[in-house]
């Protein structure tokens, strides 16, 4: 194989591979990218078997073929290359030569036949989806995904198709739950599937590159595939059953308080300075027209802040992990009022952003 392409094009394609390649080095091949030729272009692929990305770039193909080489080193070499053109050539015994101007690198590769297959989904099975909305849905749920690897089915975001082209995404770590429903168009999903955290984090990056565009999205067996212009991303779906989330969404929390978004977020940031590093516990006291946030830490001291709110229910005290509240406030629409629906100090509370019926957040109180 021998190809010649623009340095900037190589760099763009390699950029997506950097956070995907396997760091732990359990299988040496997974630290490599596959570079292959086809139809006057070059494709660059990386995978850790759970998530994979493939980028396409225009190139002058001198001889067809494929090579694999270290994703990290290839990226660094291209980034520092002195000229605008990069020439890549396969040598004997899986060695690869990278040439740019007077700079010549020879790096070791691995047999390209050993590189894992990229899943193939027929074009007609893909659904066109608005990139901006998909990105917003990921942002509003991804932070609630569990990082506890023993709770495998919670390590991703559940996505299911609702009626009339609506889709719902749900994430939970057992302590909080985020649910968002938006018009995403018909996806062709027969039942809900769980998308892995790493795959979604990568997808979010891809979507950020052009928010108003359209992406093609499709599912096949245990794979999800997203295509956006020259980038294809696949992720292995998480097997297992997502818990019945409808059961844990409180339907009739009687006490509702309305509070200004910015005021609540800033107060939480300040007061939580004195809450413990690990649990970030803050106490919220609700009384007539007032919401008090306080933190008490035997090693450091205490903090309290009062916010005027719309509240006429009975006085209540509930403990929360401030981190969990700040996380959701970070993705609530700025300027919109926040509604907090409470039942008592042990039952889950619900948070909403006023005017957005498609998004809700359930949070468990903290034992104080």
């Amino acid at each position: 194989m021998e190809v010649r392409a623009r340095r900037a094009d190589f760099l763009a394609a390699l950029y997506w591979t950097q956070s995907i390649v396997e760091r732990r080095n359990t299988m040496p091949m997974l630290a490599n990218v596959l570079v292959e030729t086809g139809h006057g272009s070059v494709r660059v692929t990386a995978t850790d078997l759970e998530v994979g990305v493939r980028g396409r770039l225009d190139a002058e193909v001198l001889t067809e073929g494929r090579v694999t080489l270290s994703a990290k080193k290839f990226y660094e070499i291209v980034r520092e290359a002195p000229e605008e053109t990069i020439q890549l050539k396969r040598l004997e015994n899986e060695w690869v030569e990278i040439r740019s101007g007077r700079s010549v690198f020879k790096v070791v590769g691995l047999d390209a036949r050993e590189f894992p297959q990229f899943p193939h989904i027929e074009g007609e099975k893909l659904a066109a989806t608005p990139a901006g909305i998909l990105k917003e849905m990921i942002e509003k749920t991804l932070f609630s995904v569990s990082i506890d690897e023993t709770r495998y089915s919670l390590n991703g975001v559940f996505i299911e198709e609702r009626e009339k082209g609506k889709a719902r995404m749900v994430a939970t770590d057992g302590h909080r739950l985020a649910l968002v429903e938006r018009d995403l168009g018909v996806l062709g999903l027969e039942k809900g599937v769980i998308l892995p955290r790493k795959g979604l984090a990568e997808l979010k990056k891809v979507l950020e590159a052009s928010e108003d565009g359209v992406v093609a999205i499709g599912f096949k067996e245990n794979m999800g595939l997203v295509v956006k212009e020259d980038v294809e991303l696949f992720m292995r779906l998480i097997e297992g059953d997502f818990p019945d989330y409808n059961k844990v969404i409180p339907k009739d929390n009687p006490y509702v308080v309305k509070v200004e978004h910015e005021a609540l977020l800033r107060s939480l940031r300040r007061v939580s300075i004195l809450s413990s590093e690990r649990y970030k516990g803050v106490k919220i006291d609700l009384k007539d027209g007032k919401l008090l946030i306080s933190a008490n830490n035997p090693d450091l001291g205490e903090a309290v802040e009062e916010i005027e709110v719309e509240y006429g229910g009975k006085p209540l005290t509930v403990g929360f992990n401030a981190r969990y509240l700040m996380d959701v406030l970070g993705v609530f629409r700025e300027g919109a009022e926040v509604e907090l629906e409470v039942k008592d100090e042990v039952s889950p509370s619900v948070m909403r952003s006023a005017g957005d019926d498609g998004y809700l957040y359930v949070v468990m109180p903290m034992r104080l």
């Binding site: 506890d148 992990n321 359930v362 104080l368």
Partner: protein
Amino acid sequence: MASIFLPNRRHVYSQFSDRVFAILERYSPEVHALSIDEGVVDLTGTERLFGPPVKTARNILARIEKDLGLSASGGLSTSRAVAKIAATLAKPHGFIFVPPGTERSFLSPLAVESIPGVGPKTHKELLQQGINTIADLLKHPDLRRRYLDLEEAGHGERSHDHSIGNETTLDRPLKDREKMEEVLWELVEEVGRRLRREEAYARCITVKIRYSTFKTITRSRTLTTPTCFDREIFEVVRELLRKNLTPGGSVRLLGVSASSLRSSGWQESMFEIQKRRSWEKLYHGIDRVRDKYGEEAIGVARLHPRER
């Protein structure tokens, strides 16, 4: 403040433990069981009733021996940790008094592993930092605070003990895992009971297995949500046993302990909250019946251990 610490080796689950603690409670209202055969008695303020604490401590030990025929050892000092270390050194059948002001000189030459709560793992970590003796440890304020609280207050908010544990040497060595699980269930019931009595929830559950060869292993699991419910503790204990038991190995001692104790500062899982709330009611109900009518008054039907 004065504490006396009384460990004694004996068989689990006899009525003797209750009788020992009944004796302790005659001397002070502040009695805390650390395990079935270890307890702390706060003798602060008992001088006018019983005389100097040194005398009282000796009396307690003598009474346990006379009334119950059990050999006990004890330690007396100004803090719980020092008293426990002294009691362990006094074994068997001895008594060590560490007078106020001499705690540091008493502790300094001892190895760090004598500190309750410094297990094999911590011990190794400390050794790597060049900390061999308690004197070495006392030079590091952060480590001192963490492992050896000498200024521990006798009143006010009580910090939980490092762990609540229970172990038993078996009458005959066991090879059958189901039989071992039956023994563990009884140990778990006791641990659960004591956790609830202390209003503590444990984040870490440890199983100890000693084989007939005297090879001893301890295996722990840290939980996402702390627990004080027998059923939950047992699930963990059973799994640890299943994973770590050498097949065909003959076991002579089994132990269960609950550590990383706390009573606040965590969140329940929203998927478990209903179940846990009903357990809370169930176990507190059982505890009340037992407090009133004795340990044998009520038992929980244990699920027969079945492979899933």
